[in-house]
């Protein structure tokens, strides 16, 4: 089976004025379908940059990146947008729900850009909201929901296009312990029951503990890559 992510010698260098910051100094990583990997590392280790490249929000500076077997290193901005729209799901630390917009409309948003007809959008949105347990909140606006509820709505939003890869960037960073555990259990369940491939970026070991595999970054390189023996949940 084709791996979802195949990165070879990925590099990324940012110019900070005159100085150069090496964010990725040659990263190799393969992620198979159905896996659940946690990317760990201190801030500045390159884990966010890696996630942005894997999530096709950015281009690698060097090396090759195959997403679902297709070379994604040199896609144009529009091509990357199209792949994001059809094959990728994003969950962010700050939820990033549209304000003054109902939960269900937020969940529908990626399908608007993917050109899914309205009626189908609604039924898919309801289905995914039921899956993550926020169906009763469908008409609530973000400011009427708790952080945990908002993050669940955001997870429902990331699922509507049946993504090949779900990217979660510090998804519990803004949540309390209880809500964090709820969200992580939900992600685990989605991985186990729905077979959704997940890449989680976090700096908290107890959050990474939910993953099947833990990859640690330091100074733009992978310093450890291990199967998780004692999974939480």
């Amino acid at each position: 089976m084709t791996p979802v992510v195949e990165a070879h010698a990925l590099r990324k260098v940012y110019a900070m004025g005159a100085a150069e910051v090496v964010a990725l100094a040659g990263v190799d990583l393969t992620l198979d379908a159905g896996d659940f990997v946690a990317i760990m590392g201190p801030s500045g280790s390159g884990k966010s940059t890696f996630m942005q490249i894997v999530g096709l929000l950015d281009k690698p500076g060097g090396g090759t990146y195959l997403f679902e077997g297709r070379d994604a290193s040199n896609l144009s901005a529009d091509e990357r947008a199209d792949v994001r729209s059809r094959r990728l799901g994003f969950v962010f630390q700050a939820y990033n729900l549209l304000p003054r917009t109902s939960a269900i409309e937020n969940v529908e948003l990626p399908m608007v850009y993917a050109g899914v007809p309205e009626r189908r959008r609604r039924s898919v949105a309801i289905e995914k909201m039921e899956l993550v347990g926020v169906a009763p909140l469908r008409d609530h606006h973000p400011n009427q929901m708790s952080g945990g509820q908002q993050q669940r709505v955001a997870i429902a939003r990331s699922l509507v296009n049946e993504p090949g890869l779900l990217l979660a960037d510090e998804p519990t960073g803004a949540l309390d312990t209880k809500s964090s555990a709820d969200v992580m259990q939900l992600l685990s369940r989605l991985n186990q029951e729905q077979g959704i491939t997940i890449m989680l970026v976090t700096h908290e070991p107890e959050i990474a503990a939910y993953a099947r595999r833990i990859v640690t970054f330091r100074d733009g390189r992978i310093v450890s890559d291990a199967r998780n023996a004692e999974r939480a949940a």
């Binding site: 999530g55 901005a77 729209s85 994003f90 990033n96 549209l98 003054r100 917009t101 990626p110 850009y113």
Partner: protein, 405 residues
């Protein structure tokens, strides 16, 4: 994305921020309303000037005798007595001439029973009612047999009817004394109102020109000839031809000045309508400036909106919006704002115009093409001033935008 889907996205975004959207629109609403009200007043004024000129007949040509020179003092036009009804007949035969009426005028006292009134008595031909487009209100107009028999019949203008028959009884059949001679009233004229020069045109008594010459002035000449050209474009050629004919008939050769003068109302009408059009454009221009100011307001708000919604833009891009889609959405927002603002402005402007008409009693007219033009202009303002902020939004990098605090 389809245009429909883009518009829906834009509408949703605008509805989410109702107060701000309404305030942004206000500039355009006021701008368009100002354009419509000023143009409506401008056009109204022009139409009313035009119609008062038209009431004289824009195909009308007037021939007056030239001036007479006595001991070196030149009298004004009309002081010479050179025009005759026969000149009129000769002109009537020319191509392009619809009808001709000699006009004999004198100011005199007119008496009916115990009422009397000084007015202008004009001797005219039956064609006069047509030349002046001045219909009869009751009874009949002077006819050909009145002219041939120098009948003592009169048709009264509305003002004269009011002054001589104040009790509202019909004057038709009554007798009025003009310069001592009894005339039977056979008809009354419908009111024409003031002339372009502010004269009361209804303050008149019309009789047959033959009767006027024979019974009142005792002259064989007339004061003027009124000619109606068949069509507005015939006015100039007719003017040329009748000048030739009159020069021949009056035996005037080259160096001699003409003993008559020909005028038409078309040139006056043209000048008046040109002045009106200039005023109209001037007013609309001033109003258009306020529309542009409204457009700058839109740009201002859209810039704020792009900054404020940076994370939203980042998210939209992350979930698959192309840069072009973001550009279109923001552009659509400003176009929707300006177009709805424009339509609201049309409503406000129309209401304002009706108020002006109602309370200031100014003539107004709302031309449809101006309504269409101002809504279109408002939409263009939206595109023009919305493009820069929209482009700013589309150029954001999704990573930067998502990180924006």
């Amino acid at each position: 994305m389809t245009i429909q889907a883009t518009l829906r996205l834009a509408l949703q975004a605008l509805v989410r921020n109702k107060a701000r959207s309404l305030l942004t629109m206000l500039g355009i609403v006021i701008g368009v309303a100002a354009v419509i009200v000023t143009v409506a007043i401008g056009v109204g004024a022009r139409v009313s000037v035009q119609s008062s000129i038209d009431s004289l007949g824009s195909n009308l040509i007037v021939v007056q005798p030239g001036s007479v020179t006595q001991s070196g003092a030149r009298g004004g036009f009309g002081t010479a007595s050179t025009l005759t009804p026969a000149d009129g007949l000769a002109i009537a035969a020319l191509p392009g001439v619809a009808s001709v009426s000699p006009v004999v005028t004198l100011r005199t006292q007119v008496v009916a029973g115990e009422n009397n009134w000084q007015t202008t008595v004009s001797g005219v031909a039956p064609t006069y009612t047509f030349i002046r487009s001045w219909p009869v209100a009751s009874g009949r107009f002077i006819d050909q047999s009145d002219v041939s028999s120098t009948a003592k019949v009169a048709v009264l203008g509305a003002t004269v009817v009011q002054e001589l028959f104040p009790n509202g009884q019909s004057p038709v059949g009554a007798t009025v004394i003009v310069k001592g001679a009894p005339f039977t009233v056979v008809g009354t004229l419908s009111p024409l109102g003031q002339s372009g020069m502010g004269q009361d045109q209804d303050d008149t008594v019309l009789i047959a020109y033959t009767s006027a010459m024979e019974r009142l002035t005792g002259l064989t000449t007339v004061n003027s000839l009124m000619i109606s050209a068949a069509d507005a474009k015939d006015v100039a050629p007719v003017q040329q031809r009748l000048t030739q004919v009159l020069e021949q008939r009056h035996r005037i050769v080259a160096p001699q000045p003409d003993d008559f003068q020909v005028r038409n109302l078309q040139s006056i009408a043209q000048a008046a309508s040109q002045t009106g059009a200039v005023m109209e454009f001037l007013l609309a221009g001033v109003a258009a400036v306020s529309l542009v100011v409204g457009g700058i307001g839109i740009m201002n708000i859209m810039m704020v909106s792009v900054t404020e919604r940076t994370r939203e833009i980042g998210l939209r891009m992350a979930v698959g919006a192309r840069a072009k889609t973001i550009l279109r959405q923001f552009l659509a927002e400003s176009i929707v704002l300006s177009t709805i603002g424009g339509m609201a402005g049309v409503v406000a402007g129309t209401a304002g115009t009706l108020l002006v008409a109602q309370f200031a009693h100014w003539p107004t007219a709302i031309p449809l093409q101006w309504i269409a033009a101002s809504v279109l202009f408002a939409a263009l303002v939206g595109i023009f001033f919305g493009y820069y902020p929209a482009q700013k939004a589309a150029r954001l990098s999704p990573i930067e935008a998502l990180r924006f605090e």
